[in-house]
Amino acid sequence: MLHQLTLAEVARGLADKQFSAEELTRALLSRIEQLDPQLNSFISVTADQAIAQAKAADQRRANGEAGALLGAPIAHKDLFCTKGVRTSCGSKILDNFVSPYDATVVERLAAAGAVSLGKLNMDEFAMGSANESSHYGAVKNPWDTSRVPGGSSGGSAAAVAARLIPAATGTDTGGSIRQPAALTNLTGIKPTYGRVSRWGMIAYASSLDQAGPLARTAEDCALMLGAMAGFDPKDSTCVDQPLDDYLAALGKPLAGLRIGLPKEYFGAGLDSRIADAVLAVVEQLKQLGAQVKDISLPNMQHAIPAYYVIAPAEASSNLSRFDGVRYGYRCENPRDLQDLYKRSRAEGFGAEVKRRIMVGTYALSAGYYDAYYLKAQKIRRLIKNDFVSAFADIDVILGPTTPNPAWKLGTKNDDPVAQYLEDIYTITANLAGIPGLSMPAGFVDGLPVGVQLLAPYFQEGRLLNVAHQYQQVTDWHKQAPAGF
């Protein structure tokens, strides 16, 4: 069955001419048509374009071209701009927006020959941890369709977990790749800030946003990230540093690997069954030769308040361009300019987006700036320093990705703070800018559990290496949700 193949297996199958890219694409398109109504993971399916791209990939291969992603089916989170295709960012305000250009990530994957099947659902403007804030409706978790898939890359996670596509792009501002990966039994990596170009990624919080892949295995993530990452002169925050060979890094044995377990990751609020699953991973890695050490990240307790000042502050400014003047939603019959602004934005944005714009506007206001924004930036520096000193004598940090498994749809919407707390373990990596990865680590009541690995700047290869070695001796990541 073609849909069960991982990206690496697809690559081998295409190379060995077991099937063509077109056959594979058609098979997955019909699977999406058949199964996605249960999940709502796609906002747009671009079938015609996908078939054309698949044919072109087959032609390139016939002309002698090779490449792991040549003809590989993927899909993009709907905040990556795709030329000629609606790019909604999960919002009513961009429901009619057809991007005139491609994001760098989209362009690079297309150049590598990847076939895009469409645009994936997400929390509106990537604000959320449950994928319930989308204008296009909530996404369901394939492991239990009465539960959330996590967010904000919930469509990416659900589509890959349900085997509708082998891999997808996502973005991670506070955990939006790692948390949904954990809740849907996937591997997902948030690279170092600056590793992947943000050109064409609709900004939520510019200093925290970073693109990365979600897939079933670390090897697939390595394939995707290798194509997505690298310097781009169009993004001033993108770092001009040579790209590691992520595939080559996978095979390194783990003997001598030094793992740090931060005590703050195992405190109150963590489901004890998740703690048990994480410690089982640690045991497994010890058997592979790793050494384990207890560490402390003392400023972690301040991460959520700091994040919920910085991210909304940047968002309040980033989202100002959605004003009904040049593109996107405009209210009917505006009386004057003020009315145009107020109603276009009031009618175009959803509740969570408005909440964060309000919080961010407040935090930046005269008289409050020092107490909120500046203080949050100081905390950010302390958190970064915590990691730098921790990494002085360890190689990776390990802990749970989330405190709880996937929760029931609709249960945390009335209490935004409860939902914000679900990001407690992932947010620090964004504040510090370091890379983080989540990988499958077992199940609690039939729901997936994720373990998170963090590494120093630009050590994506090390994260993928640890996850890959773990996946060589375990089969959590091979488990598929019933019915998919």
Binding site: M201, T237, E314, S320, D323, V325, L337, L364
Partner: protein
């Protein structure tokens, strides 16, 4: 009561870069609306700014020219407000860490005294687009060609004490940015715009009065008029028992008045914060040293050199160094005729009035520096008199060729042949025998007055061509004789 005026100026100079400050779009003025607006200028979702290195270089040149501190790091910040011609909903500007810190500029006032005006800072920012309210049937048109054009905002200390000083300061900045080649200085096209912060206080009082800001005054003349009007308004207001309120006012040149635009209470809270899409800009010392070494001669240096090298007065030197083109023209004329005083007199006199009359810039002058220099040479070698020279100058302005060609063609060559002059004078004296009698009968004082009459008659008879020196000399001999 005696009042003192306190003025601080904010000048926005558009930098003469080829492309915009954060995008690759061209910055040419006057293109069809929205033909110079890229994805970035339109603030398309997902687009990002990349800083134009040329704008940074130009700002640093300005900083060096005003002896300013240039910090190792400067930071772009977002100034948030909604307006249709501001596509991102924020202007990318600089707040806490401007590229150019404290500096100063010396300005020469009309009486020749030199005054030092402090410059608080100068920072880089992007210009907004334009809202067009006519021809759209109740709607507004937005032209984003100008959006993203690099601006250098130059903020002065409140060191200026009169409208005339303000104009002298703006002229000095205008000259400086044009010398540096970083701004074309075209005020009519908005390349250089000025906001004036004006307050008054009783003479001798240390604290400043409450200020009003007059926005966008776009000519030297309007700056002077707007400030004078605003000073008068504030003084009258206070003397009538009122209070100046802090507000933004607009100058209306048609009515010659300022009117309130918005008060401090209505002012936006811009919610400045560092722009997360741009990294702090690091300025290397070696880069600054390289720039410093490549700076052109600046107005002040040129003025001093004109005084010492050519012996010009302070006033002449400052007028001639006010623009790079004027100074170059003068030096070219001087180079040809080797007479700085004559060159200065002709450039500041006949040439300037000709240009003023036709509203021309010196680079559009119908009389080239070669032509003028060539003509002055003919004055110096006595081929023509100063009086004939004015005729030659007019003919050159009318496009009739070089001084030599005109002198030749029109037969304007000065008569220096003593015999011919002698003969001509005899005829003049014979025709005015009565006056000659009177002259000879008069005392020394009266003779002095009458002498001019004979000179005038002689020049008239020679159609101005007789060498005036020789006429004087011979005439004296003949009358005394």
């Amino acid at each position: 009561m005696q009042w003192e005026t306190v003025i601080g100026l904010e000048i926005h100079a558009q930098l003469a870069t080829q492309s915009k400050i954060f995008s690759g779009s061209a910055t040419t003025f006057g293109a069809e609306p929205n033909t110079q607006a890229s994805l970035i200028d339109l603030a398309m979702p997902g687009t990002l700014p990349v800083l134009n290195a040329e704008a940074v270089r130009m700002a640093c040149q300005f900083g060096l020219a005003i002896n300013a501190e240039i910090a190792e790091r400067n930071v772009f910040a977002r100034k948030n407000y909604f307006y249709p011609d501001l596509p991102k909903g924020y202007q990318t500007s600089q707040m806490d860490h401007p590229i150019v810190g404290k500096g100063f500029l010396d300005i020469t006032l009309e009486d020749g005294t030199v005054k030092r005006v402090g410059i608080t800072r100068a920072h880089l920012e992007e210009d907004a687009g334009k809202s067009l309210h006519e021809d759209f049937h109740g709607m507004s048109g937005i032209d984003l060609n100008r959006a993203g054009t690099p601006l250098l905002e130059i903020v002065s200390e409140p060191d200026i004490r009169s409208a005339k000083e303000a104009v002298a300061y703006v002229k000095a900045i205008h000259a400086l940015v044009r010398y540096l080649g970083i701004c074309d200085g075209n005020m009519a096209e908005g390349s250089l715009r000025c906001d004036c912060n004006v307050s008054v206080r009783p003479k001798g009082q240390a604290e400043f009065g409450t200020r009003a800001e007059i926005k966008n005054v776009n000519s030297f003349r309007f700056i002077e008029k707007a400030i004078n009007h605003e000073v008068q308004r504030q003084i009258e207001l206070i003397e009538d028992g009122g209070k100046v309120v802090q507000e933004t006012r607009l100058y209306d040149p048609n009515k010659d008045e300022t009117r309130s635009m918005r008060s401090k209470e209505e002012a936006n809270d811009y919610r400045y914060f560092p722009c997360p899409d741009l990294l702090p800009v690091v300025i290397e010392r070696s880069f600054l040293e390289e720039l410093r070494a490549g700076l052109p001669e600046l107005p002040d240096q040129k003025r001093e050199r004109f005084e010492s090298q050519y012996g010009l007065s302070a006033y002449d030197a400052s007028v001639l160094s006010a623009s790079r083109e004027m100074a170059d023209y003068f030096e070219q004329v001087q180079g040809i005729c080797a007479d700085a005083k004559l060159a200065a007199n002709w450039v500041m006199g006949e040439l300037s009035s000709l240009l003023n009359k036709d509203g021309l810039e010196i680079e559009q002058s119908p009389v080239s520096a070669e032509q003028l220099g060539g003509m002055i040479l003919r004055i110096k070698d006595n081929t023509i008199s100063g009086k004939i020279a004015k005729m030659v100058f007019e003919a050159m302005a009318a496009g009739e060729g070089s001084a030599d060609e005109i002198i030749e063609k029109k037969g304007l060559k000065q008569v220096t042949d003593t015999g011919a002059i002698d003969k001509m004078l005899d005829e003049v004296l014979a025709a005015n025998a009565e006056q000659v009698e009177q002259y000879r009968a008069s005392d020394e004082a009266k003779r002095g007055k009458m002498f001019g009459f004979f000179v005038g008659q002689a020049m008239k008879a020679s159609k101005g061509k007789a060498n005036p020196g020789q006429v004087n000399e011979l005439l004296k001999k003949k009358l005394e004789g």
